[in-house]
Symmetry: C2
């Protein structure tokens, strides 16, 4: 897929969030049908073989809905799966290194996302070739315990520091959506508020109705 | 480095094995000075950024001794570090997938090692483009708890199944060396018997004296 980034509602996966009996592929398809605009496959401590199979299946699924799929952390898995990009934390492979490697295999359309917690990290990631940023954590969240919650107004310092698009992340609920956008973010990244919902399409529409 | 494989004494790293106060780089350098012929950087659950820095430092160190360095599991880290190869377990990226990706970045000299527990897995890895195999576990070992110990004679079925070189691995001590070679292996892979030793050069020489 060509690099077209719509960050308005960015779903990040976490199998541990899913209600019993719901598979990851089912949950993501429900979210795609209801209108998420970007999907990240996040699997901490998974084996490469399992991750490759899941990343391939999710890429194929997302492409049926015209939505890009990026893989968290594992650039090798992302490239082998034919995914659209990779998302890198500050402790993962450096962005500039990933860009160089990705260019050799997938070309310049490969999407690079970076987690940036401060304006300095945001500016550095932009300089290193990031296509978008994930900025937070805005609120306390059960998927990243022990991470400092910085609040929505923190996003204004990110907006002032970079020209590339970014999403707010971390414990975001539908009622925060307008304030996050007003603070300069291009959208929100969500895990629990969608995947742990009993009615995933309804949970998605609580965000998309505010686009 | 060109692909020259000397598997006679293959050191696999494990930071948890090191005596207090000994750094990984110091331990590996002592082992290189004493004559190990191949080194694998193994770091389970490490962050990509830390792994990249360690893999780069180890590659540079190994090359000063004319010894190749391969990285366990993380093909992206291996390629970004300029390492000589990657070692893949049965649950990691499939060998054929890794070969295709590595060819695009590093070319055909990039070393692919695969862990094979049975003759069937060994033959499959060879067909998929593996350069060498690690076969075991021969004995119970503290670095891989819960893994079935297969004994030295198991190696004869591997030797009958493949033409590529392989090492025995798993709880191997110097007193097993001749029997492992006699069963058809090209050498041994060792973690604890070298890295946990008070005198690493002496521990290495207990093997190299039997070359």
């Amino acid at each position: 897929m060509a690099k077209t980034l719509d960050l308005r509602l960015y779903l990040v996966t976490d199998e541990d969030c899913l209600p019993a009996g719901v598979t990851l592929l089912d949950a993501v398809e429900q979210a795609l049908q209801a209108g998420v605009t970007l999907v990240q496959y996040r699997e901490k401590h998974g084996d490469g073989g399992k991750m490759l199979a899941q990343a391939k299946a999710l890429t194929e699924l997302c492409h049926r809905y015209g939505v890009p799929l990026v893989v968290d952390d594992r650039l090798d898995v992302a490239l082998a799966a034919g995914a659209d990009g990779v998302h890198l934390g500050q402790d993962d492979l450096p962005c500039a290194v990933a860009r160089e490697l990705a260019n050799q295999v997938a070309g310049p359309d490969f999407i690079l996302g970076v987690s940036a917690h401060t304006a300095e990290e945001a500016a550095q990631a932009q300089a290193d070739g990031a296509d978008y940023l994930g900025c937070g954590a805005l609120f306390p969240t059960r998927t990243k315990e022990g991470v400092k919650a910085r609040g929505i107004q923190h996003l204004r310092s990110i907006r002032a520091a970079v020209t590339i698009p970014f999403v707010g992340i971390g414990g975001i609920k539908p009622e925060h959506y307008k304030a996050v956008r007003a603070a300069g973010a291009d959208g929100v990244a969500v895990v629990t508020a969608i995947l742990a919902a009993r009615d995933i399409p309804a949970a998605v529409r609580k965000f998309t109705s505010q686009f």
